[in-house]
Every structure is written in C-alpha cells, then in structure tokens.
C-alpha cells in the first residue's frame, strides 16, 4: 500500500483551514480562517505557493467559480482536499496525537498513555 505523503506544518494548517471552510475555501477565506484560528497572518506569496505545490502533489484539487463584480470580474479559485490529501492529513495528525499521549500540556486531555 502506498504511504501517505508527508506534510509540513504550514501545509497542515492550510489543509485544516480548507476542511473547516468546507465548500467556501478560496484564497481570502483560507487566509482569514488561518488568521482567526492561529493568530498568524500568512503572507499571500507563501499561501499561493503552498496551495500550488499541494495541487501538484495531488493533495488538494482546485476549480474556478463564477466571476463577481466585487473582484473586478475575476473568478474565485476554490480548493478541496483529495482522498490522498485527507489520508496524509489524518496520518500527520495521528502522529501528533501519538506524541501528545502521556503529556499533560493540553490540560490533561491527552494524559492517557
């Protein structure tokens, strides 16, 4: 069986933001979701490069929506996780969870070993 792709920390943040946004994940909303949840305001360059790279790796897929006058007649580019992308994210998060087991850093939630 093929192993899931390894993900960097920022890639995981972006993927989680896309998952949280569900059908409304495009550049602006992904950026504001990351900012509101993590307090970090990602640089647009870093965000679009990461999204492009993840699409090349087959972790996310993108499609263009309808054009809107607020954006000067430009279409939104929506993102969603692919099956390999979701597997990679689950695998990365499981690795974090395993490392957290036995530690009390999150108020004892992960105290069981």
């Amino acid at each position: 069986m093929k192993r899931p792709a390894t993900l960097g920390e920022f890639e995981q943040v972006v993927l989680l933001a896309i998952l949280r946004l569900n059908e409304d994940a495009y550049g602006v909303t992904i950026r504001s979701e990351i900012a509101s949840c993590t307090g970090r305001d990602p640089a647009p360059g870093a965000l679009y490069t990461t999204l492009d790279r993840m699409e090349e790796k087959g972790i996310v897929r993108s499609w263009f929506g309808e054009t809107t006058p607020q954006r000067g007649g430009r279409a939104k580019r929506y993102f969603a996780l692919t099956k390999p992308g979701l597997d990679a994210l689950i695998s990365a998060q499981q690795a974090y969870q395993s490392l957290l087991k036995g530690l009390k850093i999150l108020g004892g939630t992960h105290a069981e070993c």
Binding site: A43, G45, T49, D52, E56, R74, R77
Partner: protein, 251 residues
C-alpha cells in the same frame, strides 16, 4: 482597477492566466481593508515566491551545460587526455553527439532538480541517464565500463516502458534531449558561419575574440537562446503531460 490590471499582467508572466486572475481577485477583495501599498507588496511577494526557481534553474543548468561540455571535450579531445578518440569523421560525429547529449542531460537533470525537486521521477530519471552518459564518455575506451553502461541503459529503458507514466517521462527526456541537442548544435553551427563571415577564418583566444566584440557577445547570446529554448521545451512538454495526467486522475 488599472493597478489590478497591471498586477494581473505581471502575475500572468509567472503563472497561468486563470490562476493570476483569481489571485488578483483575492487581493482586490482584501485591498479595501489593507490599502494599495499592501496590494503591491503582496503582488511582489507572490511573484518572487512563484518565480524564484525559474531563473535559478536556468542559470545553474546553463553553467553546468557549459562546464560539462568543456569537461567532455577535454576528456575526448584534450591535449592531456590519454584516450583521444579515433581520427575520422564518423567518430567525430558519434562522439560529438554523445558529448552534446551527455551535457544536455546533465544540465536538464540539474534544471529539473531546482525547478521540480529531486522527488520528481523525471528528475531521478534524468540523473540516471546523465550518469550513464557521463560514464560512457569518460570511459569510452574501457569495454567493461561500456558494457555496464549498455546494460544499465537497457535496464532503465526496459523499466521505463513497463509503466505508462515512466514511458511518458522517458519520452519527455528523449524528445527534449534530441531537440535540445539539435537546437544547440544549430546554434553552434550558426556561430561558426558567423565567425567565417566576420573574420574569414576561425577566431582563436581571448585577444582575437576581444577584437570582435559584436561576434563575441552575439555568439554568447545565440548559445543562451538555444539553451533557453531547450529548457522551455522541457518545461512545456513536461508540464502539459503531467497536467493532463492529473486532470484525468481528478476526473
């Protein structure tokens, strides 16, 4: 609006038309809160993030193309070489083609590693072929090494045709190297003709070249242009094929 159009034009130089439009659309949405300065700083940041690999890949591979060609030339025809190639036009053509193919493969392997990363199969395949060609050029006189190279080449070719994705990658490498060699040889050939027109004979050394500045920089420009066409071909063919494959997978 004018600034958005200008920014979109700039972004279209480094990414696809639709992607550039959607990125600018995003920035236009946020610009209302953050202002014009933020907008242009973001555009600059995005251009740098999306495009820094391109000039670096080109410069590094151009440098390698020059040095490997020089190295192969010295190994096959240099004054100090112990194993000079046999005299005769067929040998000169054969080894000339081998040199150009080897140097193009080395350059494209480096180009691919900077542009797409070492994990891409096409990069790995280009490195394997470059290693085989380099070994064959440096040890052309050694039957054992040539036999190993031939066996390795056959093995790699056999493995490449078993899977459709590898077949396509091999095709990209083969086509680009063949066309790239042709373009580079044409470039050198045109430089040779120009040289004869300019000086009615071959120019030797930096002093003679210095006396023909227009020819010197013209030659360099022609070589850069021919190499640029090779890298462009690699990028266009590879990206078109991988993009169509990914579209098929997504569907």
């Amino acid at each position: 609006m004018q600034s958005a159009r200008s920014a979109e034009w700039i972004l279209r130089r480094v990414t696809a038309k639709e992607r550039a439009a959607s990125i600018i659309g995003d920035l236009v949405e946020i610009e209302r809160q953050k202002g014009q300065l933020w907008f242009w700083l973001s555009v600059a940041g995005i251009v740098v993030s999306l495009a820094w690999r391109r000039p670096l890949a080109f410069l590094a591979s151009f440098y390698v193309a020059g040095w490997t060609l020089y190295g192969f030339e010295m190994a096959l025809r240099g004054i100090n070489t112990q194993h000079r190639i046999p005299i005769g036009r067929p040998w000169a053509i054969l080894f000339g083609l081998l040199e150009f193919a080897g140097s193009t493969l080395c350059a494209m392997a480096l180009f691919s590693v900077v542009r797409y990363g070492i994990q891409e199969h096409i990069t790995q395949a280009a490195f394997v072929w470059a290693a085989i060609f380099t070994l064959a050029i440096y040890f052309w006189w050694n039957p054992l090494v040539i036999t190993i190279c031939a066996a390795l080449a056959s093995g790699v070719a056999f493995l490449s045709i078993r899977k459709s994705k590898r077949r396509i990658e091999s095709l990209v490498i083969f086509v680009t190297v063949a066309v790239g060699c042709g373009i580079r040889l044409t470039g050198f050939f045109l430089c040779g003709i120009w040289q004869h027109i300019e000086s009615h004979g071959q120019l030797w050394g930096s002093q003679q070249m210095g006396e023909h500045i227009f020819f010197k920089y013209g030659t360099f420009g022609l070589i850069v242009l021919s190499f640029w066409v090779t890298t462009l071909l690699w990028v266009r063919v590879y990206e078109r094929i991988t993009l169509s494959q990914k579209t098929r997978i997504a569907e």
